[in-house]
Amino acid sequence: MVTYSSAMVTRFGLSYIHQTENKNKKEKQRDKIMRESSSTWVRNRNIVRYTPKTLGSVSQGVILGILVLVVGLIYVTQGTKATSYDYELNEIEDNIAELEVRKNDLVVEKEKLTSVAMSKNNEVATTMETGTVSGYAD
């Protein structure tokens, strides 16, 4: 970019400025043509193979592996979360079963203690007086 001061504009006039600008444009255009044309001047450059910029098979494999790993980790995380509840549930169920067995043992003991035979033979019953028979003569 060329810059001009107001003094320069006054001294050389507007036409000079235009000429200078035109010259610069032409030079640039020529430089560009020269640059581009110089590359085509290299021998056999006109038949070089076009190579697209793509990922190689190794990179694809790695990316696929990472994706599988991520998906797997997500699955495992979810699975572990669900399974952890299972362990908790299992523990609670074990506790319930244990308490039920203990409760049942106590009920059995209670029934044994209140059985007819036990009641009849206990200390209070054995010291009671025999009731008078209400009925039959000999």
Partner: protein, 574 residues
């Protein structure tokens, strides 16, 4: 270099081909086998055992458990890996002394034996102590055992559960399906510790349906008292078999069912004679003898051929089909009333009723036999299953037409010989006879226990009318009269007690023997002016000995009757 590459290439092809073939074999051809192996490794498949229902009896108006379940353990030792000191400390100690099945020295006699049961029925508490000590080469096997808080009470009625968990005999056997429930199933993915996991799409859980808790109509206090009375009677008389049945004649509910000798159901294998498992009250048909006269008389009254005051000419011995039939108590040849015949249990009197039923004063005929058969079998339910919820025998009432010597056969049947019936049949028939004439199916099941509450089963009404109310009333009066003859002493004021004896001859080697008999008594009672509230039937005998119904059976009845008046709080009538 190229050769080497070629060789490597071919080798790689071969390896890949082998892998592909093997994969094809595993994944396609043997797929099922490998899938099954994989599933077996990570799938937990268990049967969820249904809990066997408990059995309850009544205690007044409250139901109490008499057969329960208890979790017990069998202790097993692997002598090859077990350490003697550890085993001695953990198992052969005072806590387990009642459960040990062997001596310590025998455990290590043969170390090649990898499975040695050293203790059975170990309580949970003691099993836990073993677990805490964690001896090497020991494992505990859990199982459920039946426990009987009342001990041997009503053993023959209740039955037992064998090692396979199947109910045998009694209520356990007959209601086995109801008590067993239905096992469930659990199929799920499990971890290495066999903890069920909810992941997996093929998990199956079918919950078990526990067995029903059956509540019996039996009152444990009446049962215990009746057993005590029967046991005392056996000791006093020297007899070795006795039974008692207490029922409510108004609805057929059984209040007590005793059959001794019994056994300990918790140790049911420890008996010398397997016949003790059989409940003779429902399963032992016998000839009930003179208690059957009441059925014959009821038929006569219902058919309008006799009443208590009807007279006949009694002879101490008569001949039917050429066979002599005599009265057990000799009264001489004279005119007697039917009430007198019942009071003195005159066989000739009951044969007279059969003659009248046939419309002939002097002879037995087919018509009479058919009528008697109809009353015995179709109306009073003798010689056929009653429908009680127990295994029961049918008995035998001979056909009134087909066969030789029907007249003498039926003449004997009028006083309860030449026929086979069970106690439950006789008691149910008597209930119909004295309750106003309606026959109820006897029952031992009152309902079911659900969440601690007694859910009563729907009350079954009478299944048929056996006799009219009028006949029933007249039979009650006749049976009160029989008891009032003074043979049995006085009954308490405000109550009416009736009953009838039976001394049955028994058949040995196809013929009646003269030195053996079974003593029976059937009676009923309640407040004066009311229908009877209880009916009791007892029998007692010993092989090779004569029985005396008045001296051996009737006292058992009187004692039970006396207890029932007090226990049932029956208010005296006017």
């Amino acid at each position: 270099m190229n050769e080497r590459l070629k060789f490597l290439k071919i080798a790689l092809y071969v390896i890949v081909a082998v892998i592909l073939v093997r994969l094809f074999q595993i994944q396609i051809i043997q797929k099922g086998e490998w899938v099954a192996k994989a599933e077996a490794q990570h799938t937990l498949e268990n049967t969820i055992k249904a809990k066997r229902g408990q059995i309850y009896m009544m205690d007044g108006s409250e139901a109490v458990a008499v057969v329960m379940n208890e979790q017990v353990y069998t202790v097993i030792v692997d002598p090859m890996t077990a350490k003697e000191e550890e085993i001695k400390d953990a198992i052969f100690n005072d806590d387990l002394k009642d459960n040990l099945t062997t001596e310590f020295d025998k455990v290590f006699e043969d170390k090649a034996r990898r499975y040695f049961i050293v203790a059975k029925n170990v309580s949970r508490k003691n099993a836990k102590k073993i677990q805490e000590k964690n001896p090497t080469g020991v494992w505990l096997q859990e199982r459920t055992k039946r426990v009987y808080p009342e001990g041997p009470l009503a053993a023959r009625l209740l039955g037992f559960v064998n090692e396979d968990g199947e109910g045998q005999y009694g209520v356990e056997g007959s209601l086995n399906e109801e008590l067993s429930g239905k096992d469930g199933m659990l199929k799920t993915v499990a971890d290495v510790n066999n903890v069920a996991l909810s992941i997996g799409k093929d998990n199956v859980k079918i919950p078990a349906v526990d067995g029903k808790n059956v509540v019996l109509t039996i009152d444990r206090n009446i049962q215990a008292k009746a057993e005590e009375i029967v046991k005392d009677a056996m000791e006093e008389t020297g007899k070795d078999h006795a039974s008692a049945l207490v029922m409510n004649p108004r609805n057929g509910e059984i209040m007590a069912m005793v059959d001794l000798p019994g056994y300990d159901p918790a140790d049911y294998g420890n008996v010398s004679d397997a016949s003790v498992y059989v409940n003779g009250v429902v399963n032992d048909p016998y000839e009930p003898a003179s208690v059957c006269k009441a059925f014959t008389f009821a038929a006569g009254i219902e058919e309008g051929v006799m009443s208590a005051d009807t007279t006949y000419y009694n002879q101490d011995t008569i001949y039917i089909d050429g066979w002599p039939i005599s009265n057990a108590s000799k009264n001489g040849d004279a005119v007697r009333t039917m009430q007198y015949a019942l009071n003195w249990s005159l066989n000739v009197g009951s044969i007279q009723v059969l003659k009248w039923l046939g419309g002939d004063e002097n002879n037995i005929n087919e018509k009479g036999r058919k009528i008697l058969y109809d009353y015995y079998v179709n109306k009073f339910g003798l010689g056929r299953e009653t429908g009680i919820e127990l295994f029961e025998a049918e008995g035998l009432i001979n056909d009134p037409v087909e066969g030789y010597g029907r007249d003498s056969l039926y003449a004997n049947m009028t006083f309860g010989q030449n026929m086979l019936v069970t106690m439950i049949q006789v008691a149910s028939g008597y209930s119909a006879m004295v309750n106003g004439g309606e026959y109820y199916t006897p029952t031992v099941v009152r309902g079911y226990m659900e969440n601690g509450k007694l859910i009563e089963k729907e009350k079954a009404g009478p299944v048929r009318r056996a006799i009219s109310e009028e006949t029933s009333e007249e039979m009650r009066e006749m049976l009160y009269g029989t008891r009032d003859t003074g043979w049995y002493g006085e009954d308490p004021d405000g109550y009416r007690i009736g009953g009838k004896t039976g001394s049955a001859q028994v058949i040995r080697d196809g013929a009646y023997v003269m030195d053996e008999s079974v003593a029976t008594y059937v009676g009923f009672g309640g407040a004066t002016g009311e229908l009877p509230e209880y009916l009791v039937m007892v029998r007692i005998w010993k092989d090779g000995e004569l029985g005396d119904a008045m001296k051996e059976a009737e006292p058992m009845f009187s004692e039970i009757s006396d207890y029932l008046i007090d226990y049932l709080k029956i208010k005296p009538g006017d």
